[in-house]
């Protein structure tokens, strides 16, 4: 063991212990949370009402769902698969998705190590407006945790392109069938990911499309550089996915059930709804992000990098898009919260790297967010609050 490794061993052990405690608590909470509410409905073939038996049942259900209930076919299709696998396996998938989500948050923030991972994990729990419906309820977990993980993967690919790191396929200059094959694979991959991203939910999907367009536009107008084909393809498929999600006939069937009380009432209700989402559900993450952003500008004496400005704008757009929705439940802020955590980790990393004293500030933040997360999870386990 080298001197450096020996020096960092105790602190690494502390991070591992915190992460283990939080993950064990999270798994116990998952084990205690049974399929409920919409889960019970989605666990059946939506056409026949029989228990899901096969993949064709899911396809049949999703066809009906798209025509009569809503456009989130990708997430609800995956939801039905997890429901079909049973509670134990669904919990394993949920834990894996949570770990992947935190990994993606760290990756996108450009700050991936043991400290940032544990901090990211505890922030996802501590800043969450409603952990029960966004991370524990099976329908909520698939709609928010799973979907946000692949949305962040999509964004990361574009952020990499913006940072100047070319996509691996393009770096290979050797001509031939291998190169062509890899390019086709990249195009197919980004198309599937773009489609899934756009088709995930009604606010993050279109915001991701705008993010992709923003990156392409920035490269073209500011960096005077043409974007590769896969970037256009990704943006296009995200647009297609978003359109498929929003124009689903099921959305219009359901919107007819909403009683229209007049324009003035509607505007007032929407304003209150947005105020509640911004000033109550999202406030802890927004406040932390803005305070760290202000400190970054003050102590770092540098402008925020363009990719993080774009992510901030995207968070704002994803939040603002909800003004078009008649409801803004607390769980719907999950995606925006994850984007804000990306920014929080990015600012913290920059400050901790450059100002030695700020390191301890980060440790304090980790301590307090880990305590808040642990108490939150423990209280759910003990009080059976789900």
């Amino acid at each position: 063991m080298t001197e450096d490794n020996r020096k960092y061993l105790p602190i690494t052990l502390i991070y591992i212990s915190i992460a283990t405690i939080l993950l064990v608590l999270l798994f116990l909470v998952h084990q205690q949370t049974h399929f409920m509410m919409d889960d019970e409905w989605y666990a059946t073939n939506l056409v026949t009402g029989e228990k899901l038996q096969s993949f064709s049942d899911i396809l049949e259900s999703q066809k009906w769902h798209y025509d009569n209930w809503g456009g989130r076919s990708v997430t609800h299709g995956i939801l039905q698969m997890t429901l079909m696998s049973g509670e134990f396996w669904a919990n394993i998938f949920n834990m894996t998705a949570t770990l992947l989500l935190v990994f993606m948050i760290c990756l996108l923030s450009g700050y991936l190590n043991a400290f940032s991972y544990v901090l990211g994990l505890s922030l996802v729990i501590a800043l969450n407006a409603n952990i029960k419906t966004s991370m524990l309820w099976q329908s909520g977990t698939v709609n928010y945790v799973y979907a946000t993980a692949w949305i962040l993967l999509f964004l990361w690919i574009y952020v990499r392109a913006l940072k100047g790191t070319k996509y691996r396929v393009e770096k290979r200059q050797n001509a031939g069938t291998v190169r062509v094959f890899k390019q086709i694979a990249a195009l197919a991959g980004i198309s599937v990911l773009g489609l899934m991203t756009g088709w995930s939910n009604e606010n993050m999907g279109p915001a991701s499309f705008l993010f992709a367009v923003g990156v392409i536009g920035y490269k073209y107008f500011i960096e005077k550089e043409k974007s590769p084909l896969w970037m256009y393809m990704g943006a296009f498929t995200t647009l297609v996915g978003s359109a498929l999600c929003i124009v689903a006939p099921g959305n219009f069937v359901r919107s007819k059930e909403i009683y229209y009380t007049g324009l003035v009432n509607m505007i007032t209700e929407r304003m209150i709804m947005m105020l509640q989402a911004g000033a109550a559900f999202l406030l802890p993450s927004v406040l932390l992000c803005v305070v760290l952003g202000c400190m970054y500008c003050r102590y770092q004496k540098a402008a925020v990098k363009v990719e993080y400005i774009m992510l901030g704008v995207m968070a704002f757009l994803a939040f603002g898009a909800m003004v078009l929705s008649p409801h803004f439940p607390d769980r719907a802020t999950f995606g925006v919260m994850c984007l804000l955590i990306v920014l929080i980790l990015h600012f913290l990393q920059e400050l901790m790297c450059r100002i030695s004293g700020f390191r301890r500030c980060g440790y304090l933040l980790l301590g307090i967010s880990a305590i808040i997360s642990a108490v939150k999870l423990l209280s759910i386990i003990v009080l059976q609050g789900v």
């Binding site: 000033a279 406030l283 004293g357 939150k376």
Partner: protein, 221 residues
């Protein structure tokens, strides 16, 4: 121009506070209770008296950190007011009256009840604690200064009170209120020594205040 903007925003917050306070205490019937206790049929005078008493109490709570501020500018007062209204839990006049007139010994909570209280406390401090920790951290570690005895004292006292709040059922809200107020005093004292662009933070907290007014009024109407 800056001075007038702060003045206008402070006036909006003051008006909102007065309306919310009045709405809350009239709905709870504090004035009515006092009127009936003293044998009067008209509650209006008592309602006004309760409003004035509550505003005076609030003014004292705002004055304590402002007294400590140098220089005493409109911006400082706005900062104190916006932080107070955004972070402090709403506490009703009826609760204060009940707390000070009911002299029964608080019940010692155990097991699940402690967790219920702890969850409530976490809800209260979820917003202020990371904010105070960040300010404290930056003040100590980036500005190269040390926390003063008053900061450590207030911080320790608030930790003791929050812990006591988890154990002493019935006193949780009052102990939380005092603990968060102490934490707020520390945060405000640290913030005034740090120099970074504050208007985005003011903006966010201002909206939180407006939401708090709405939330309380919606509960009572």
């Amino acid at each position: 121009v800056k001075k007038y903007i702060y003045l206008m925003l402070t006036a909006i917050l003051a008006a909102g506070t007065l309306l919310t306070l009045h709405d809350m205490q009239v709905s709870e019937g504090m004035g009515l209770y006092l009127a009936l206790q003293s044998g009067h049929e008209d509650r209006r005078l008592f309602d006004i008296a309760v409003d004035i008493a509550a505003l005076l109490l609030l003014a004292i709570l705002l004055w304590i950190p402002f007294f400590n501020a140098k220089p005493k500018t409109g911006e400082h007062f706005f900062r104190i007011m916006v932080c107070y209204l955004a972070f402090m839990p709403g506490i009703s006049t009826a609760y204060i009256l009940h707390f000070f007139t009911d002299f029964s010994v608080p019940a010692i909570a155990a097991g699940e009840e402690i967790l219920i209280n702890a969850e409530k406390i976490l809800d209260y401090i979820r917003l202020l604690a990371p904010f105070a920790v960040l300010l404290g951290g930056v003040y100590c570690f980036s500005e190269g200064q040390r926390l003063l005895r008053k900061h450590i004292g207030c911080g320790m006292a608030s930790i003791v009170m929050l812990s006591a709040g988890a154990v002493l059922s019935g006193w949780t809200d009052m102990l939380c209120f005092i603990a968060i107020y102490l934490l707020l005093l520390v945060a405000l004292d640290l913030w005034k020594k740090l120099t970074f662009t504050a208007w985005p933070i003011y903006g966010i907290l201002f909206f939180k205040c407006i939401y708090n007014f709405y939330d309380i009024m919606a509960k009572y109407n």
